[in-house]
Each structure stands twice: as C-alpha cells, then as structure tokens.
C-alpha cells in the first residue's frame, strides 16, 4: 500500500484529474458520451455500452484482485440494502433512459458540445442530488434501511476465497461478450 502517496491530498487531486481526463477520452472514443448510443443500448439494439462496461469489469476485476492479493490495494465495496440498491437503482434506471446519459458520461457529453447534457442533464442531476440530501434524514431511517446487508461482497457472502468467485465470473463475462460479438448485436 502506497500510504504516503494516499495521504498527500494535492497530489491526489492532480492524479484524479489525470485519471478523469483519460476516462473521459476513452468514454468519448467509445461512443458512450452519445445519447444515441446509450438509448440504442437500452433499446437492446446496440450493445456498445455493455461491451465497454463488461470489458472494464473483466480487466479491472483481475487486476484489482491481483493488487489485493499482493497487498498493494484494498477493496472498497459500497454498503447496500434492498431499499437503497434496488429502489434507487430503478429510479436511476428510469432517469438513465429519460436523460440518455449517466453522471459520468453527462460530463463527457458536455465536453463534446451536447447542450441537452449541460442545460438539462447537469442541472437536473444537481437538483435531484440536492433533493436527496434534503430527504436523507427521513429516507435513511425508512426505505434505505429496508433489507440492509452492509458492504458484503460475493466471496464473503459465500465464504470462499475471492478468486473462487473472480475467475469463474470473469470467464463467464468473456463468454457473454464472445456470444454478443457472435450474434453481431
């Protein structure tokens, strides 16, 4: 673990900007910053977005778990509950289809000149996030606490070594990508 580096905040902010620039460059080159591509994905006509996400998951999962096995990185799984992850996820999903961008790609869409992303998307997300912050005290004692399971991961849930999950899951994702490629979708 590079703890000295992690504690240096200005360096962290600078590195984050560089990672963001690379991330935005990749998202734009992949077409994921385009409304037409995201809507095509949600209509199941063009699987570009899923191909990008699943390729990232395969490469990321193998590398990050290897770093963890070498004690160079720690995992940071987010806590969740059915009330938060599923209900929030469905609200997000409807927003995903209505907006046609997500919180990362909306910033990229603004960078390529999409005004609906700037004046509609960014402004809407800021208002939605602000409303959530206002509702948070009530929600956190209500729906967000329903079916709470904490920050558990699949390996911990099944009480197995992480590679017992990571290797078969990444292999299955590669097969799924291969199949999607084969059917030309």
């Amino acid at each position: 673990m590079l703890r000295g580096l992690h504690a240096r905040k200005p360096v962290q902010l600078g590195l984050a900007l560089l990672v963001g620039i690379a991330f935005g460059f990749l998202l734009q080159k992949g077409g994921a910053t385009r409304y037409d591509v995201i809507i095509g994905q949600l209509l199941l006509e063009d699987h570009t977005v899923v191909r990008i996400m699943l390729s990232a998951v395969v490469v990321g999962a193998l590398g990050v778990h290897l770093l963890r096995s070498m004690r160079l990185a720690e995992l940071h799984p987010k806590p969740g509950s059915f009330g938060a992850s599923v209900v929030g996820g469905l609200i997000f999903g409807v927003g995903f289809a209505v907006l046609g961008y997500c919180p990362g790609t909306v910033a990229g869409a603004v960078g390529q000149g999409s005004m609906d992303a700037l004046l509609g998307g960014v402004v809407g997300i800021l208002i939605g996030a602000g409303v959530f912050a206002a509702l948070f005290p009530r929600l956190s004692r209500g729906v967000l606490a329903v079916g709470d399971f904490g920050d558990v991961t699949l390996p911990r849930l099944f009480k197995v070594n992480e590679w017992v999950v990571v290797l078969p899951v990444t292999a299955l994702i590669v097969l799924l990508l291969w199949w999607l490629h084969g059917v030309g979708a």
Partner: protein, 173 residues
Amino acid sequence: MDFLAASRWSPYVVGAGIGVLSWFTFLLLDKPIGCSTAFARTSGMIEKVFRGSKVDEKEYYRKFPAEIDWEWMLVAGVFIGSFLSAAASGGFAIEWTPARWVAAFGITPVARWGVALAGGFLMGLGARWAGGCTSGHGISGVLQMAVSSWLAAISFFAGGIAAAMLIFRVIAG
C-alpha cells in the same frame, strides 16, 4: 498518431483501458472510480452560496462534505478528456437535439431540454439513493464483486430498458 484522430475505438479497447485505469485508482489513490458524489457535493456547494455554512450541518453533507474532492476532480477531468477526444477527431459540435431524439420527436430543443432536466432529476435522486452510478456501482462495484453494486447495476438496466422501451416503442412508436 492516427488513432487519436479516429472518431470511434473498439468498445473492448475502451473497456480494457477503463479497467486498467481502475488498477491505477486503487493503487495510487486507494479509491474506486465513481462520479455521482461529485454532483451531490456541487449541489451542496451551490446551496452554501445562498444559505451559508449551515448547509454543512445537514446530515447528508456531514457524510459527504460539500467541497471539492478527488471524485470532483475526476468528473472535471472527464469533461476535459471528452473535449480533447472530440476535438482530436473533429467531432466537437454544439448540439441541442441528438439524432435519435429528432428521429422520434422532431427538432424540438425545448422539449428535449425539459425531458433531459426531468431525467437528470431522477438520475441525481436515484444515484444518491442507490449510493452510486453506472461507474461507481456498474463498473467499480461490480469488479469488486460487491453485492450492493450487482443489485444496483441490474436495477439500473432493468429500469432503463423498461423506460426506454416505453418512450421509444410506445410513446413515440
């Protein structure tokens, strides 16, 4: 350097590149890639302009302080990186209504703006409700095999596919 000027790269190359970026964020920053808390923090920063420091006392902003953090810098970088990519390929263009919208609803920029605003509202609300977005849950959380992220990512696409089918196959159909 022709590849920098290409308008599209293979989705597998792009995805693998994002996967490699996630190695670097875990190693160098001790953080998974994510985008949506940057919007929550910005919302709090804007509220502070009008209501002052009592905004910091809100329960949510005690958890996620309304200030510039690494994720905020990451989202700023996404904006810059996408601009550089679009500029390198000659793809930068001011656009009010995307082609797919025009095909379904005509050249209606005000309607598109209103719908994007409503969609953004639901997305901002849903992202903070679920505790992450397509990158924080959909990529970073899924690659960590987090149960919360697998459930959230499946819900993103279930809600998104249902709503997109309703909008484009029923309403516009």
